[in-house]
Structure formats: C-alpha cells, structure tokens
Amino acid sequence: MSDEKQFIQSLKKGEAAAFQRLVEESQERVLNTCLGFVPNLQDAEDLTQEVFLEAFRSAQGFREESSVQTWLYRIAINKSLELLRHRKRKKRWAFLTSLDAVKDADGSQHFQHPGVLLENEERAELFFNHLARLPENQRTAFVLHKVEGLSHREIGEVMQRNVSAVESLIHRAKKQLRESLKTWYEQNLI
C-alpha cells in the first residue's frame, strides 16, 4: 500500500497522528487559500480551523476520487464562499439592526493580508475589493491560479471542470478585473 493510501486509511479511521500530519502539512495551503477569498488574517485563521474541523467530521466519507489536497481545497473554498455569502446576507438586512452591524458586515473595511508588502497595501486592498465583485466561479479560478499558483489542470480537478473551461474562467476574470479597475480609476483619478 502506498504512503498516500495508508495515510487516507488512517484519516478515515480517525487516527490522531494522521490528523496531526494533515494539519501540519496542509495548514499553510489552506490558510493562504482562505486569505485569497477573505483578506483578513483573523477571519482566514478562523476559516482554517473550520476547514480542518470539517475535514475531521467528513473524513470517513472521503471517496478517494481525488487527492487529499484537492479535497481540502474544496472544503476551504466552500467555507470561504459560505462566509462571504453569510456576510452579504447580513449586510443586506443590516439596516434592520444597527449601524455597527453595517460596519461589521462589510469585510472590505478590515483588509489585513500579512502576505502583502507594505508599499503595496493600498493597491492590494483595491485589487481585493474589485476581486470580490467577480462571480464565484471566476473568483475561485483566479484565486487558485494567482494566489495558490495551481496549474490549470489542478484548478480543473478542484473545480471539477475541464482545462479549457478553467482557462476561460481565468481569462474572463482578468478581463472583468481590468474593466472594473479602469472604471474606478476614471472616476477617482483625475
């Protein structure tokens, strides 16, 4: 039995050592993926915890049709998108609660990505704000490509799409980002 297969079997049995190995080997990848969706360290760390707890809970049902890393990427993406949807809903109904809730619901106010160089912080914040306006699938493909540096084939495995569909998603994401930022600069830079 190969090491990967043995590792998966140990995970499915709920062995603590296998989970420890999973956390130690993958936490950086999960954290950085979450930061690509939610550019705030505290939020991304909370999401990382949720991702691993979900992995612990659902390990028994892991069907081994993909690698463990692909499975973790899927959980991380789903958890990140769930949080963003929840915040959107909260923001939509925030006028019923209070002004503080409106402030809290807007994640873009709390940009804190430790991977961004200080001199680039303002630009990166602007970039992430416009990235957040993309449709979920374009955004996912773009984050996996740009932040995680995955190949189109690997992104295809995570998103369960073929390579040409992934290329198209990334192309459209780049085009839309360029247009959105161009409009912003036309309105804000005289």
Binding site: F19, Q27, L53, F56, G115, Y185
Partner: protein, 109 residues
C-alpha cells in the same frame, strides 16, 4: 492624454500588486486549538441547547400564553354577565344588557 497614461500606469501597477504576494505561514498552535475544539464538541451538550427542543419549548410557552389569555377573557365575560344579572335582579331590570333601553324607562322623570 497625460492623465490617460497615468491612469493606465496606475491600473497596471494595481493589476500586478499581487505578483509579489508572500506566503503566510501557518499558526504553530493550530493543531492544539483544533484538539481543544474537538474535545468541546465531543462533550454532551445540555438538552436545552438542542434546537428542536428549544423550538418545542418556545411553542409550548406560546400555547400556554394563548390558552391563559383566552381563558382569562372568558372568565371576565362570565364574571361581567353574572354581575349584570345580579344588578338587574336587585333593581328589577331586564336580565340582559342588550334589552336595556335607557330612554324608555317607565315613570322616569
């Protein structure tokens, strides 16, 4: 013209702002935290924390409230009817308040 090229320059710089994005290292205490959260999750939670039971308790409370209000209203009506009956018997009036005609009392001056 100059503005256009400046905008274009800024746009390119922003689009490339993630090119030198650094990898963020993981938290060395993550596994310990996860162990702690798993332990907490494994502890049996009190029955009052089960959402279905919370809903049931709320519905029962609501039902008791509605029942109390309805029986209270009924009791008030019965009490009022009895009072009207007693008063009308003592004063020799009609027993039902619907039949009381204040403008047609005999010998009223």
């Amino acid at each position: 013209m100059e503005n256009n090229s400046k905008r274009e320059h800024e746009l390119e710089k922003t689009l490339n702002s993630l090119d030198d994005l650094q990898r963020v290292p993981g938290n060395p205490w993550l596994y310990t935290r996860l162990q702690e959260r798993r332990k907490q999750a494994a502890q049996p939670r009190g029955f009052w924390k089960v959402p279905a039971l919370q809903g049931l308790a709320f519905a029962s409370l609501l039902l008791v409230n509605v029942f109390t209000v309805i029986s209270g209203l009924k009791a008030t009506n019965t009490h009022q009817d009895k009072l009207v009956q007693t008063v009308s018997e003592q004063f020799g009036l009609e027993s039902s308040i619907q039949n009381v005609d204040l403008f047609n009392i005999p010998n009223a001056q």
